[in-house]
């Protein structure tokens, strides 16, 4: 009963009613049974075939610029989907959007607009609709409206059940990469401002052991050698941070420690999202989302079969697929699955109740009663099972038994029972499988995620150890330096136009020179975060949009933030 999607909100009662209708209208037998898709009965296949025809009708109406006929085709398609328990048709929605944008490219904006309206009806609240609308507005020259549509699309993406998950992972990646690059950049700033002191000290120290020119070269090599490590950028950060530790102020030491901790934590955070990510990208998850959101798409039945194949021994998956069969109206295909669920879980009230309903519909009262009696003993199915039992006794004219069961049902929820009676419900099935999606996701996670991703502690230990080790080495070096008392600072600090340009243009440079580590880190974090936004797509996961926002929005946002940042610097520095 927990199925819910975006703007399509139906009352629980309506859904229950549909579920009852699905039970009542179920086809007799499967006409096709394949390992590649879940079994589909002939009526279901006929409904799907009808959908294909209606799509062709819509296409024809669109080509003829016949809005009325196209709208009627959309109504027909939605009605067909409704017969199968779905409220939207995702792939057709994408096709209509593409048609709308094509019409806009040809200059027929009126046609594009009514097509967009139909796309919205086919799958409400989808981000792609807004992005396609933004494209149409752009083609029409309405830039502001286009930006508005794109922003609405981003919001719809963030709040969408299916895409929101991936969107959240991408936001995490963006922030993590920003933190990582800021940390690395901060250490680079430290090298730019404190590195000269380090270099001079190394030169002085080496100068006691060897000729001065040789000392100059070896000191340079001493700072440069980690560049020779293949892709060893992290080791450069750690090495420099340890060497430069003693040259910073207290706030710089805190900022350096923070940078090192980020360096250790970011891989852990990315690793932590991997298992969930693999789930989010899997066809099995897509199928679950499709069922929960009542979204019909072309390969849904194939993806459901994949789910079944991935979790062959899962009782929860069996229970869900039994409910799906009922939703599709394939009662006969649901019954064996309910039986296996009841066998595996004798206390599964929903499965027992639904098996009873199955026999009740076939007027097999004697076979139905034991299931209902068992279900009555279980709290979460007591209400429906007692009601169903009362209905059976009533049909068998065992009035006292019927009233006894009815009073049991009323003792649980009198209002609901009265409503069922008012609706003249002959039976009440229960949808327990949909409520087990959380458990199915956990089982899928165990199946899909590589074992290495589940072993978080080993990675934790190593990464944190490296960060803390760098801080420890830096502390020891500082102790050594303060004892030797070798360094007294540089005597020459050339101020050139290039140096001034660096101070102005590189955020955090002045703060780093002044020894204000916190300000330097934050000053670097803001522009780095803005700059990483447009390029984070290189490191993040592609959204499965049929129409996306394009690069303009992110680049525009990044440039606005950067402009504001540098304007602020200009004014207040």
């Amino acid at each position: 009963m927990s199925r819910r999607r975006g703007s399509v909100s139906r009352s629980v009662w309506t859904k229950s009613l549909l579920f009852v209708i699905a039970w009542s209208c179920s086809g007799a037998l499967p006409a096709q049974d394949s390992d590649d898709t879940i079994a589909l009965s002939a009526p279901v296949l006929q409904t799907l075939a009808k959908l294909q025809d209606e799509w062709l009708v819509w296409n024809s109406a669109f080509l003829q610029d016949d809005e009325v006929a196209a709208s009627a085709a959309v109504d027909d398609m939605l009605a067909s989907a409704e017969q199968l328990g779905f409220s939207s048709i995702a792939d057709v929605h994408h096709g209509v959007l593409l048609s709308a944008v094509e019409a806009a490219r040809e200059g027929n904006f009126a046609k594009a607009r009514w097509a967009l309206g139909m796309a919205e009806r086919l799958d409400r609240g989808q981000p792609e609709t807004e992005f396609a609308r933004g494209r149409v507005e752009t083609l029409e020259g309405n830039r502001l409206a286009a930006v508005g549509a794109q922003l609405r699309g981003v919001w719809a993406t963030a709040t969408d059940r299916r895409m929101g998950r991936l969107f959240l992972y991408n936001v995490q990646i963006w922030l993590l990469v920003s933190l990582l690059l800021t940390s690395a950049g901060y250490i680079a700033l430290q090298m730019a401002t404190k590195g000269p002191h380090l270099y001079r000290e190394v030169v002085n120290w080496l100068g006691r052991l060897m000729p001065r020119m040789v000392a100059l070269v070896i000191a340079g090599a001493f700072l440069l050698w980690p560049f020779l490590l293949p892709r060893g950028w992290a080791w450069i950060v750690i090495y420099w941070a340890a060497l430069l530790w003693g040259y910073g102020s207290s706030s710089e030491k805190w900022a350096t420690a923070l940078a090192l901790i980020f360096l250790g934590l970011v891989p852990i955070a990315v690793r932590a999202q991997q298992a969930g990510l693999i789930m989010a990208l899997s066809p099995e998850q897509k199928a679950i989302d499709g069922i929960v959101e009542e979204r019909l798409y072309g390969t849904l039945f194939e993806d459901l079969a994949r789910l079944d194949g991935r979790l062959p021994d899962s009782v929860a998956a069996d229970h869900l697929l039994a409910d799906v069969h009922v939703m599709l109206g394939q009662r006969e295909l649901a019954r064996p699955r309910y039986s296996s669920v009841a066998d595996a879980e004798p206390d599964n009230g929903e499965a027992l109740n639904n098996l009873g309903v199955f026999h009740l519909m076939r007027n097999e009262h004697a076979r139905a009663i034991p299931f209902f009696e068992s279900a009555t003993a279980i709290q979460n199915s007591k209400l429906a099972a007692a009601y169903n039992l009362a209905q059976i006794y009533s049909e068998r004219l065992e009035i006292s038994n019927s009233e006894q069961q009815l009073s049991i049902a009323r003792s649980v929820d009198a209002g609901t029972v009265s409503q069922w009676i008012a609706e003249q419900r002959r039976f009440v099935p229960l949808q327990g499988g949909f409520e087990r999606i959380g458990a199915i996701r956990e089982e899928l996670r165990g199946q899909l995620a590589p074992a290495v991703l589940m072993d978080q502690w080993r990675s934790w230990g190593r990464s944190i150890l490296v960060s803390l080790g760098a801080i420890g080495v830096g502390f020891l070096l500082q102790l050594f330096r303060s004892r030797s008392g070798a360094w007294r600072g540089l005597q020459t600090e050339p101020v050139t136009w290039l140096g001034r340009a660096a101070q102005w243009s590189i955020p955090g440079f002045i703060s780093a020179e002044a020894g204000d580590g916190g300000r330097a880190f934050v000053a670097l974090l803001v522009p780095v975060t803005a700059l990483v936004l447009p390029i984070s797509g290189l490191l993040s996961y592609r959204m499965p949009w049929s129409f996306g926002p394009g690069p303009t929005l992110v680049w525009g946002s990044a440039l606005v933030v950067l402009a504001l940042f540098f304007a602020w610097r200009w004014k207040y520095r």
């Binding site: 294909q52 730019a192 270099y199 990315v270 990510l277 190593r462 020179e513 490191l539 690069p551």
Partner: protein
């Protein structure tokens, strides 16, 4: 820990030497009969000073006004605002953007020096130093080294200051005093505080090194290069050695060309001066005959320390009263030396130009130490830039993108998993586009570029997460995407999809009669 003492008999100078030698940070309070001065030290260098008679903020205002950086009226406004907000006047000046940061920091340094002079002027009273205590100071100020303060105080205070005698010039030649009978103690090694005793000289580490370096007479400028110390540290260290009776100084005597009437067209080069220094040293060491050759090639600086090399001297130059014709600046025939018994100090500001012209470009005298500082500054910046370039190249080229997020070798499996997930997300996006295309056009596209043109995918979706180009092939019922670098049999990274089980794309899938023909139906209901 604290240092305490009286100002009499150079007590304050000893305290400053100790603070500098140990690199202490803390607050020095000098209480005189006429004034009270506090000085903040960071790592042995003075960064701020305040005086009762001339508060820090007001003194800064004077400096700023004198240097023409800020009018007194503007400064007074900033000062009042800073007092109400509780920040330093210098910070308020900065926040109001009245003066740029660089000039302001130099002005703060100048103000600190002036107030330190006030402290050094005090003759009677006491001082105390509280380690790790501090008063507010402007961050970013280049600390004033104690040696700089003391050396400059000799010039600025003269007899009013606590320093006795003159400090050696950089061109002076320093010779050791053998068998002085003075016991030498080194701060840090033999004690943490200077205790005045007859017959005992307390030296800092710098001074100790200088004493070792002048086992034979040497010019201060050579010591500066040999020990890699700045001129203030060398000059003050030598001054301390001289005052302790451990060394003696004599001025280098190189005559000014003006005095001899010779008017070369270009100033003396550093090499020329150094050659003369060597000659002077030779003369002091044994009085051997010194001669200069007219060899136009200047001796390399690195050769100067080797005093055993024979040096020839063209005496005819001394006898020639006429000015030599202009020639190469490196030609020693342009120079002349005065008689060695009439030493004349070369003044670097003296003009070598003929006649009334006294303007002359300042001779850059960049020491090896200063050169190393410049190299150090630019090396630090170059390293930072190089590092940023490495990061950017990893990000842009794609080959190392996953290494950015998983930089450590033990994360190799997680890195592979990340790349795999990223590739899966690209395939999902392509799949969505391909199916939409098929739905509308009844077939798969020939190439992914078509999807880009229709905006069903973005241009970057034609590339994998590691930047590898994705090849696309399709027929009537299937399509295959894979990274171009992947061989056909490596199917782990490829993506094969078809319309077979898509009820919207495959009409046969919904043909229920086919299923019936494949499998018999038994009516059991």
């Amino acid at each position: 820990m604290s240092l305490e003492g009286t100002l009499e008999e150079g007590g304050l100078v000893d305290a400053l030497r100790a603070i500098s030698a140990f690199g202490y940070s803390g607050l020095l309070t000098v209480q005189g009969t006429l004034d009270l001065v506090t000085v903040t030290f960071v790592d042995g260098g003075a960064v701020a000073a305040d005086a009762m008679n001339s508060p820090m903020d007001e003194a800064l205002g004077h400096v700023l006004a004198q240097e023409g950086l800020l009018s007194p009226v503007q400064f007074r406004e900033a000062l009042e605002s800073s007092r109400s907000s509780g920040v330093l006047a210098s910070s308020e000046v900065l926040s109001r953007e009245l003066v740029e940061r660089g000039p302001l920091l130099r002005a703060v340094r100048s103000q600190t020096y002036r107030q330190l002079l006030e402290a050094l002027r005090l003759r009677e009273g006491s001082y105390s130093f509280a380690l790790d205590a501090e008063s507010p100071y402007e961050s970013g100020v280049e600390p004033l080294s104690v040696s700089e303060v003391l050396v400059r105080s000799v010039e600025d205070l003269g007899f009013e200051g606590p320093m006795v005698g003159e400090t050696p010039e950089i061109d002076d030649v320093i010779a050791p005093i053998e068998d002085s009978g003075i016991e030498i103690k080194v701060l840090g090694r033999d004690g943490r505080q200077i205790v005045s005793q007859d017959g005992v000289a307390w030296l800092t580490e710098d001074e100790s090194r200088l004493l070792e370096a002048i086992s034979s007479p040497k010019a201060a400028s050579i010591l500066l290069m040999d020990l890699d110390l700045d001129q203030y540290r060398v000059r003050y260290g030598l001054h301390a050695l001289i005052q302790a009776g451990l060394a003696s100084s004599s001025e280098l005597s190189v005559s000014s060309p003006l005095h001899s009437g010779i008017t070369p067209s270009t100033p003396l080069l550093q090499t020329d001066i150094d050659s003369k220094l060597v000659a002077q040293i030779r003369e002091l060491e044994g009085g051997e005959e010194i001669s200069f050759s007219a060899d136009p090639a200047p001796a390399p600086v690195s050769d100067l320390g080797d005093v055993d090399d024979p040096i020839t001297f063209d005496e005819s130059l001394l006898d020639d009263p006429e000015p030599a014709p202009p020639s190469s600046p490196s030609n020693f025939s342009d120079l002349t030396l005065p008689p060695l018994d009439e030493p004349t100090v070369v003044d670097s500001e003296d003009s070598f130009l003929p006649g009334a012209s006294t303007e002359m470009p300042e001779r850059p005298r960049v020491s090896q130490s200063e050169l190393a500082d410049v190299v150090a500054v630019w090396l630090g910046r170059a390293l930072a830039l190089l590092f940023v370039a490495v990061l950017l190249s990893m990000l842009v080229t794609g080959a190392g993108r996953s290494h950015l997020l998983f930089p450590f070798s033990w994360d190799a499996e997680a890195r592979e998993s990340l790349e795999s997930a990223q590739l899966r997300s690209v395939y999902n996006r392509i799949d969505q586009g391909v199916r939409t295309y098929h739905l509308l056009y009844g077939m798969y596209p020939d190439e992914l570029r078509l999807l880009v043109d229709l905006e069903l995918i973005e241009a970057r979706d034609r590339f994998g997460p590691a930047g590898q180009f994705l090849s696309f092939a399709s027929d009537a019922g299937d399509y295959l995407v894979r990274p171009e670098s992947v061989r056909s049999d490596a199917n782990l990274l490829q993506h094969l999809e078809g319309i077979q089980h898509d009820f919207l794309l495959n009409p046969r899938m919904t043909d229920s009669s086919q299923g019936a023909s494949r499998r018999p139906v038994f009516l059991i209901d």
